[in-house]
């Protein structure tokens, strides 16, 4: 058999091979909208100096949502308790900065390790079971963690939150300033680096195998994908990402509220991701922008009741259909649609494919 396929390879490879390679290369090529997004994000440092705090918040939420996208969008694991890793990272960073060492980047690694270990340990609980069992298991774990944080007041400050966290200068060089500029630059860099890493991960064979597990677990096993191992790996990575997002929150606010472990964190991050779109990484970032702006806008018009409108948005999204949400542009005139698609999907002079 091997001889035959090798022969086939020799005969036909030169032509087909390059086509295949080009097509695969296109999958991982940088696209125009990505570049625009990052340029805009970095330009905001200079262009929007008075909005640093909200931009910081967007960056943190975006990172958190990207971490959820890794498990939900790629491996298809639903979670109602992803906030557990966010909260754990926030607390780990806070406690570490308060009692041991105030330098934030070190704190990021500590938070990442704490969440990663917890994620690895709990990943075995989401391996089996239906969506419902996964939802309940993740929710249960998050609730347990919140309960622990609440009861261990000597360490976490309990319901009052962990205060007195002094965060030192980043790498001993850059002091956090009052306007949040350092904080935003810090978060943006972390977000950028981690997004690039996630990009590599999902565009590598590993990412393809995750999508296979999500798309068709039966066939995935039948082409030799070790699903359990892959899920454990990505769940751990996602926990690390969420933990780092939580640590960023601690570092930029110098405070950890028990609220970081609240249920609504897990629900909000789902909403953020769904708003931006699942399964292409940037959904987290776009969702974070939309969500944060929407919430700020709503809480200005109806200070106490913005939750109602957020809820309404969720209901409408689902009833209209998530997949239709990404097709809003189909209501535009055809010529405009084509131009838009060409701009958004432009990547190193390659033809577009209708995706997302």
């Amino acid at each position: 058999m091997s001889t035959m396929s090798e022969n086939a390879g020799k005969v036909s490879a030169p032509v087909t091979e390059s086509v295949a390679a080009t097509q695969l290369r296109r999958l991982s090529a940088w696209r125009a909208f990505e570049i625009v997004l990052w340029v805009a994000a970095f330009a905001a440092i200079f262009l929007l100096p008075s909005h640093m705090l909200v931009l910081t918040e967007i960056a943190i939420v975006a990172l958190f949502a990207i971490s959820l996208d890794l498990i939900l969008g790629y491996a298809g694991i639903v979670s109602l308790g992803h906030g557990a890793f966010f909260g754990l990272g926030a607390y780990a960073a806070g406690i570490f900065a308060k009692h041991i060492y105030a330098e934030p980047v070190t704190g990021l690694f500590v938070a990442a390790a704490a969440s990663g270990i917890f994620g690895f340990a709990t990943s075995f609980l989401v391996l089996r079971g239906s969506d419902l069992t996964r939802l309940m298991t993740t929710l249960g774990i998050a609730l347990m963690l919140a309960e622990v944080a609440n009861q261990m007041a000597w360490l976490t400050g309990g319901a009052d939150g962990l205060s007195g966290v002094m965060v030192g200068p980043i790498l001993g060089l850059f002091e956090f300033d009052l306007w949040g500029k350092t904080g935003y630059i810090y978060c943006l860099f972390v977000l950028f680096i981690l997004t690039c890493l996630a990009r590599r991960l999902v565009n590598a064979p590993f990412g393809l195998s995750l999508k296979a597990i999500k798309g068709n677990p039966v066939r995935a096993a039948m082409v030799g994908v070790p699903s359990r191992r892959r899920i454990v790996a990505i769940y751990t990575v996602a926990a690390v990402y969420a933990g780092i997002a939580g640590a960023l929150l601690t570092h930029t606010t110098s405070f950890v509220s028990i609220d970081v472990l609240a249920f609504h964190r897990s629900a909000d991050v789902l909403l953020v991701l769904v708003l931006g779109g699942v399964g292409y990484l940037y959904g987290g970032i776009i969702g974070a922008i939309v969500f944060t702006l929407l919430r700020d806008w709503l809480s200005v018009i109806t200070p106490q009741y913005w939750m109602f409108w957020i809820g309404l948005v969720l209901v409408i999204i689902v009833v209209v259909g998530r997949e239709n949400l990404g097709r809003w542009h189909t209501f535009l005139p055809n010529s405009l649609q084509e131009r838009l698609a060409r701009v958004v999907n432009w990547r190193l002079g390659m033809k577009l494919r209708g995706e997302q």
């Binding site: 991982s28 064979p205 590993f206 066939r219 096993a221």
Partner: protein, 248 residues
């Protein structure tokens, strides 16, 4: 010579229902072995026991003389056991190229690699391209699988199984549901499978079975009813009675 695939006293019980009843089957290396039987005879159960999707109540499964009864599905695949499904089990959102690259990657133990993009693993890409060529899918390798005509999907189904370089290939009704005009293409692919790959064919279409297989096992109510060469089985009046009575 050790058998390519062998089962010993394989039993599978679902509650009170006996889906596999003491099946001891031996398939020779390089054989073209057909597994036939009326609906509900337990063919699918048997396949699932081969691949590890089901665990037997008792008995064992051997691949090339090695006991694989306790191994999970993906490890059996790595050891050279692949199957196609009666109803397509494809990655509908993938392109054929992505699907085949995935399968090749996993065989080459590249699936866990998380740094370099797909295209950087050149050998795997070349091999996937060659496979697509061989299965006449090159022209559609960049289209979404769910958009392909059924016959093409059927070819991809076989290509995916073949990509894991199986020593034993289980084909579950490979031509099922394929329109008449695309049928010969699928059948040609099946006929042209390399001789050193052991093929077990599960099929309803007697014409196909008689033209393709050299040995036939007949399964009735979960148990092995008879086994033998094509001439022997096709001449057996009892088989005719069971089979034609049910399905003709």
């Amino acid at each position: 010579m050790t058998a390519a695939l062998e089962t010993r006293h394989l039993v599978k019980r679902f509650g009170g229902f006996l889906a596999a009843d003491d099946v001891s089957l031996s398939v020779e290396q390089g054989a073209r072995h057909a597994l036939i039987g009326p609906n509900g005879a337990g063919k699918t159960t048997l396949i699932n026991l081969f691949t590890g999707a089901l665990k037997p109540t008792s008995g064992s499964v051997l691949l090339d003389g090695e006991d694989i009864t306790g191994l999970p599905v993906e490890q059996r695949v790595k050891r050279g056991l692949a199957r196609t499904f009666q109803v397509n089990q494809l990655f509908r959102e993938f392109t054929p190229l992505e699907s085949v690259v995935l399968a090749v990657n996993e065989r080459k133990e590249l699936g866990g690699s998380a740094w370099r993009p797909l295209v950087a693993h050149g050998e795997a890409v070349d091999e996937a391209a060659a496979l697509l060529e061989r299965f006449k899918l090159s022209d559609v390798m960049d289209e979404r699988t769910s958009m392909l005509p059924y016959g093409r999907q059927r070819l991809l189904e076989i290509a995916l199984a073949f990509a894991s370089k199986p020593r034993v290939l289980l084909l579950d009704e490979p031509a099922a549901g394929v329109p008449e005009d695309e049928r010969h293409e699928v059948l040609n692919i099946v006929r042209d499978l390399p001789e050193d790959v052991t093929v077990i064919l599960i099929e309803h279409d007697m014409e196909l079975v008689f033209s393709f297989a050299d040995r036939i096992s007949v399964l009735v109510s979960g148990a092995l009813f008879t086994e033998g060469t094509v001439t022997k089985v096709s001449a057996d009046p009892r088989v005719k009675a069971i089979y034609l009575g049910e399905d003709a």
